[in-house]
Each structure stands twice: as C-alpha cells, then as structure tokens.
C-alpha cells in the first residue's frame, strides 16, 4: 500500500465511523483507512474507543429497549385480523379507492424543498 498524502486524520475520523458499522463498502477506502490506522496512533486509539463505545451503547439499548407486546395487544390484533377477513368475504360490488397525492413545498432561504406524498385508501364498511 502506497502512502496517500490526501488521506489525512480528518478523513480517517470520518471513515472509521462507517468502518465500525461495516458500512465502508469500497475495498480501496477500507485499505486506505487500515493503512492510516496502522501508522497513526491517535486515530488508532480513536477507533478502539469508538468501537468500544458503540458496542456498549448497543448492549445497553438492546437490554432496555426490547419490550414485549402486551398479551392484550396480541389479542386485539388477532380479533382485528379475523374481523377484516370476514369483511373481505362479505364484500361485494365495487370498492371505493381513494388516491391522494400532495406536494409540500418549503422554502428556506435559497433552498426549495418539495416533498411528495402518495397514498391509496380503500374504504371498508364500519367494524361491528
């Protein structure tokens, strides 16, 4: 691997965030980073620290943020699915389908942001 003077610490500190997440897909970019880390102690230590912190956060988040669905919710969904299936069976004649397209335009300074929303709804008879 040849020395790349354009690959500096700023670039390495950015790329290592992706590297930790397995998101630095390009082989050359990975090699350039690994090469830099092998020769730059501050970046190498930054990488080890980031890796440890992200792992720690993942463990803590996974421990605390994986709640179980209450059985009441499972029951509600099961009943709802059965009711919707019964309605589908009972349905005859034409179905009402509504298509909604909206465009939201935001202007901030010299930037124009357009967000298009597209939605299709089908009307069902009311649930009993």
């Amino acid at each position: 691997m040849t020395y790349d003077p354009l690959f500096n610490c700023v670039r390495a500190l950015h790329d290592l965030l992706l590297y930790i997440d397995n998101e630095l897909a390009d082989l050359n970019e990975r090699l350039a980073l690994e090469n830099h880390l092998a020769t730059c102690q501050p970046c190498h230590s930054e990488m080890e620290h980031e890796k440890a912190v992200v792992l720690h956060l993942k463990q803590a988040l996974s421990k605390e943020c994986q709640e179980s669905a209450p059985s009441e919710l499972n029951n509600r969904i099961a009943e709802q699915t059965a009711a919707l299936a019964a309605q589908m069976n009972a349905m005859s004649g034409p179905q009402i389908i509504t298509e909604i397209r909206t465009t939201e335009t935001t202007i901030i300074g010299d930037t124009v942001i357009e967000i298009e929303t597209h939605e299709i709804r089908r009307d069902f008879p009311p649930l009993n």
Partner: protein
C-alpha cells in the same frame, strides 16, 4: 373505516437556487433527487382467499408484534399510543398483505408500514423533520472531526461502565425523533444503513448523518446524567 393500502412519502428533492460553493452540497443534492419507488398497486381480493390470507398473515406476521411494539414505543414514547399504532399497522399490513412479496423481509416491510402510519396518523406535528438540517450536520460532522483527548476517553469509559438501568432509554427518548429512530434501527435492530433508509424513507446518506448525530447526542446526555451524580468529571 378507511385503510391505507399503499402510501409513500417521496424523498425530498432539494433544488439549490444558488451555488453554495461546497462540493459536498452539490453531490448530496444529486443523491436527494433519486427515484421514488411507489408500491401502490391495488390487487383484487376474492372471497376464497381472504381466509387463507388471514391464516398466512397470522402464521408469518404475528411473531413480530413484540418487535413492532418496541419500535412503536420509540415513535410514540408512551405505551398507550404505541399499542394503538401497532394495531393500526397490523390492520394496514393485513389489508395489503396480498401485495407483500413472499421471500422478502417481512419484518422490514412491517416497519415501513409502521413509519407511514405514524407519520400519517400519530405525529402531532405533521411537518416532516427538516432533512436539510441533517444534511448540514453531515458536513459539520466531517469538518469538526478531531481526536478525543485521553481524559475525554477515560471519562466516557467511566460513564458507560457505571451506567445505571434506565439511563440509556431515558436518553434515547430525549433526543429528537429523527435521530432516535436511526439509532434504534441501527443499534437495537442491527439494520444496515440501506435497510434503515427504506424503513424511514430517507436517503442512505441521511441515515448516516442522523445515526452518528444521534449517537453523539446520546453520549452527551449520558455524560450529563453521570455528571449530575458525580461520575466522569475528568473531561468532556
């Protein structure tokens, strides 16, 4: 009762009226105006297959209620709304289940419906979070990169090693929604950026900036909590 069969929020297209003089901004705006995939073909459903569909739906989709519920808690931040959100999500999922392509990722498909259901029905402020802000953050993240001091590192290690139960969940709920969801899908669900981009209907580059900004905010909050208990005062 109206059920949303298919819905999509297009990727925001950003038009720059003036040249900002930053290569990264121009490049980003090209990515932002990418193709919008709209899955909205309404298939016909006959009487005969409604029962089969329900049986298949129960067998395949019901195993994910806990995961959907815990994701929903990150959107609504309260159990009552989270339950309603999951129930609505399952209603929409069932009525468009015939459009689901077997063999593709059902859980991610449910998460996409969860996201659009939340945006359409639950978000109190109906405006989308400002995507342009996250794009700016990406540039700031890049420009502000610097090595952390050894004191800073050991102070943070101390904070994380002494993390009391409940702190990380509290911190996650304190950070803004767009960052919270990116962190949740990456760090709890373990999804790659591309999958998160599809679930949240935002570009991959935005996932990256929101995730890193989100983790940074989380770490700052955890340090603040610890500091108030007298831990990790050495730096930060």
């Amino acid at each position: 009762m109206a059920v949303i069969l298919g819905s999509s929020i297009g990727k925001p297209s950003i038009k720059l009226k003036v040249n900002l003089g930053q290569a990264s901004f121009n490049k980003r705006s090209e990515q932002m105006s990418g193709e919008i995939e709209v899955k909205s073909k309404a298939g016909a459903l006959t009487k005969a297959n409604a029962a089969d569909l329900a049986a298949r739906f129960n067998a395949e989709a019901m195993q994910y209620t806990s995961q959907l519920y815990s994701a929903a808690l990150r959107y609504t931040k309260n159990p009552h709304d989270a339950q309603d959100l999951v129930q609505d999500t399952y209603a929409k999922a069932f009525t468009s289940f015939h459009q689901f392509e077997p063999g593709t990722n059902l859980k991610a498909w449910l998460y996409r419906i969860l996201t659009t259901t939340f945006i359409n029905n639950y978000r109190k402020d109906q405006r989308r979070p400002q995507v342009s802000d996250a794009e700016v953050e990406d540039w700031q993240l890049y420009a502000a990169a610097s090595h952390t001091s050894d004191q800073g590192k050991s102070a943070e290690d101390e904070v994380l090693e002494n993390l009391p139960d409940g702190d990380v969940k509290k911190a996650l709920h304190e950070i803004p929604e767009e960052f919270r969801l990116a962190v949740y899908y990456a760090d709890v669900e373990g999804y790659p950026y591309k999958e998160i981009a599809e679930i949240l209907n935002i570009p991959s580059g935005t996932v990256m900036s929101r995730l890193h900004r989100g983790r940074k905010l989380l770490r700052e909050l955890l340090a603040d909590y610890a500091k108030s208990r007298g831990i990790g005062k050495a730096g930060l």
